[in-house]
């Protein structure tokens, strides 16, 4: 124990010495594993574009990024991680969109002594018992936005909620997260089949349940289907959900069915800070579309990386980790810092879906939770 402490102190001293001597830290090789083909490719493309935009703006040519497509298959992702570590000899990995892929890749990456910066997925196992000194989540812990939704539903005065999510771990976490902060009672709780596209049966039950609000977590095409069918059903109860189903990318496919829906997010394109304004403008200029939540997360992840590289050499693991922990960068979401388990402590905002000209988008209407941290931090020992 003392031995370890001593080593740490020495390392810190060394990095301080380096900084003092003016030997600025060098570049890094980054491996990005993300989903670029098949269903769900849009999310990966946004993360990649956001990330690369920040790298480009930094003007640093000493950051080399290797990008590979995981096809949303866990085994492919693991294989790519092996390739990047063994062949490409990357220092830092990032990019994974899906929790199940993150669960497959992150533990083995950190076990091999590499850093992993998560731009999207934040499974609870990696925030709690399975946390690692080399794992940083720049987006959120999976429960956060759902907790925000629960808090918002409570503060908005709803008394009976009907909640539904797909029957898989992230879905179960979502409902747990909502219930953790919702103080009313439940009119009904449903698990749907993963990938289900017809929600007539569920909507019929919502209609019969006597609820005064509906909370759902149905990522991707599932959410689009649900919202359209819900709007068509004439049930008309207010809907609350996490930002995933109301993001820039898919909002156009949902259309008017989403108008007026309240959703919770740690970011929105109308967040009033300089970094965000610049980001939204430059993203639009470069890619010709509005940035999404995922693009902002990719952008922030790159900013974090660059900020740490400015302070420490990536080969100096302890120094680099300290630099990451400091999170010394201007995030697109304003105030941002890491908790003890390397997950964000941040505001969760409430947004409403509106129409700006021809485009459906979100505007912020309030804050659901301030400086919110996740509940798993207590279980994390590192």
């Amino acid at each position: 124990m003392t031995m370890k402490l001593k080593m740490k102190t020495l390392a810190v001293a060394a990095s301080l010495a380096m900084a003092a001597s003016g030997a600025l830290a060098g570049g890094a090789k980054v491996g990005m594993i993300t989903t670029l083909s098949g269903g769900g490719a849009g999310l990966g493309i946004d993360v990649r574009d956001g990330f690369m935009l920040a790298i480009e703006q930094s003007g640093r040519s000493d950051i080399e990024v290797v990008i590979e497509d995981d096809q949303r298959k866990p085994d492919v992702a693991v294989q790519l991680a092996d390739k990047m570590i063994q062949s490409d000899k990357v220092d830092v990995l990032t990019g994974i969109i899906w929790s199940n892929l993150a669960m497959a890749v992150v533990p083995s990456v950190t076990a091999q002594g590499k850093f992993y910066l998560s731009p999207n997925a934040g499974p609870s196992a990696l925030a709690g018992k399975g946390c690692s000194p080399n794992y940083f989540n720049v987006a959120w812990q999976n429960d956060n936005l759902h907790e925000g939704a629960g808090a918002y539903a409570t503060s908005a005065g709803y008394k009976k909620a009907f909640i539904l999510a797909p029957n898989y771990p992230a879905g179960q976490d979502a409902l747990t997260g909502f219930k953790r902060f919702f103080k009313g009672e439940l009119a009904g709780e449903l698990y749907t089949k993963l990938g289900q596209t017809d929600y007539a049966a569920e909507i019929a039950q919502i209609r019969a349940s006597g609820a005064d609000v509906v909370f759902f977590f149905l990522p991707g095409g599932m959410g689009i289907s649900f919202l359209k069918q819900y709007a068509d059903s004439g049930v008309g109860l207010p809907v609350v959900g996490p930002a995933f189903s109301f993001d820039q990318g898919i909002l156009q496919a949902v259309g008017a069915a989403a108008l007026g829906v309240k959703n919770t997010s740690q970011w929105s394109k109308d967040l009033d800070n300089e970094a965000n304004k610049a980001f939204v403008e430059s993203f639009k200029a470069k890619y010709g579309r509005l940035p999404s939540l995922y693009a902002s997360q990719g952008f922030d992840t790159a900013l974090l990386l660059i900020s740490a590289l400015n302070k420490a050499d990536v080969a100096d693991h302890d120094g680099f980790r300290k630099a990451l922990e400091a999170a010394d960068f201007a995030s697109t979401r304003g105030a941002f810092k890491f908790g003890p388990n390397h997950h964000p402590i941040q505001n969760i905002y409430v947004r409403e879906v509106i129409k700006e000209g021809d485009v459906f988008t979100n505007k912020i209407i309030g804050t659901a939770l301030e400086n919110h941290a996740d509940v798993y931090a207590a279980e994390c020992k590192m």
């Binding site: 269903g39 849009g42 709780e189 017809d198 019969a208 068509d232 156009q252």
Partner: protein, 305 residues
């Protein structure tokens, strides 16, 4: 669990079943006449939905979009039939499965290349939005009612075509004896293309009708494809009547299973595990139904013995 809810769920099951029939009809026709297992059918469904979304975005007309879905899917169907599929009729099932599996890869990625990675927008038209008050206080979506109606019309049209028209006679002859219709002077190759195109058009129509209330995206076809296979296997491959009965059975089993099983389990366990276990079992229910039917009738309900 009220009676009204049960009726509403039965309507939902019916609507799902009718849509499945539109998918399954093409599959079973193609198998009956040409002896082909066609995994590409799900991609044609997707093509229909994309064609509809593209046309709806340009013209704003839902009816034109439906026409486009049928035409688009039938056109793509005709092209792949003439380019690839017709070489597979004489092959064994293994080659057919593999070749059409390859076509799925090509069509899916090709669509993504053309239309991008994000879902497209396709909505129900205003004149079909909202709900209708049925007798006994049942409130039901007009669009879904229209889907049931449209699906039943398509089914009736198909039955009529097969029973009464010249093409129908040729199709029935083709199912029984391929050499014979050649001897009768029917151009078999043209008949095959026609049957394939009809099946593709129906799948495309289903894609557009469903796409309007779900999401239009790459990969939307495969889950429906597997369901359609379950349907025709239950009904007996090659039998249109079987496809219809199978589709309604699967639609009802799936919808009512999802609704009833969690309630059933809640009778003897706590609510949250009942929800979880009941949902798991519900997602397996149609496969259980299929296994059960095949064990009792190895060639499906209406299959030739």
């Amino acid at each position: 669990m009220s009676v009204i809810l049960l009726v509403e769920q039965t309507l939902n099951g019916l609507q799902f079943g009718v849509m499945l029939f539109l998918m399954a009809a093409g599959l079973t026709l193609v198998f009956g006449v040409m002896g082909l297992i066609n995994l590409t059918h799900g991609s044609l469904y997707m093509v229909g939905a994309f064609a509809a979304a593209a046309v709806a975005a340009r013209t704003g007309s839902f009816l034109l979009a439906l026409v486009a879905s049928i035409a688009g899917a039938a056109a793509v169907g005709t092209i792949i039939e003439m380019a690839v599929i017709r070489r597979l009729y004489s092959r064994d099932h293994l080659d057919q499965v593999l070749a059409t599996f390859a076509l799925i890869l090509i069509l899916s990625e090709g669509t993504r290349w053309l239309f991008g990675s994000y879902p497209l927008f396709l909505d129900t038209p205003p004149w079909l939005s909202g709900t209708l008050m049925l007798p006994f206080g049942i409130e039901y979506s007009i669009y879904r009612l229209s889907m049931i109606g449209a699906g039943l019309c398509a089914a009736a049209g198909l039955f009529w075509m097969i029973a009464r028209t010249r093409i129908g006679i040729q199709i029935r002859a083709g199912e029984n004896d391929r050499e014979m219709i050649g001897a009768l002077g029917v151009n078999i190759s043209r008949l095959n293309t026609l049957v394939f195109a009809i099946g593709a058009g129906l799948a495309g129509l289903a894609g557009a009708l469903i796409g309007a209330i779900q999401s239009v995206q790459v990969g939307m076809g495969e889950p429906v494809l597997i369901l359609a296979f379950v349907v025709i296997v239950i009904g007996g491959i090659g039998s249109i009547r079987g496809a219809f009965v199978g589709a309604i059975l699967v639609g009802l089993t799936d919808t009512l299973g999802r609704f009833a099983l969690p309630h059933l389990f809640a009778l003897f366990m706590d609510a949250s595990s009942a929800t979880s276990i009941g949902s798991s079992l519900a997602s397996m229910s149609i496969y259980l139904l299929m296994a059960g039917v095949l064990l009792l009738r190895p060639r499906g309900l209406f299959g030739a013995t």
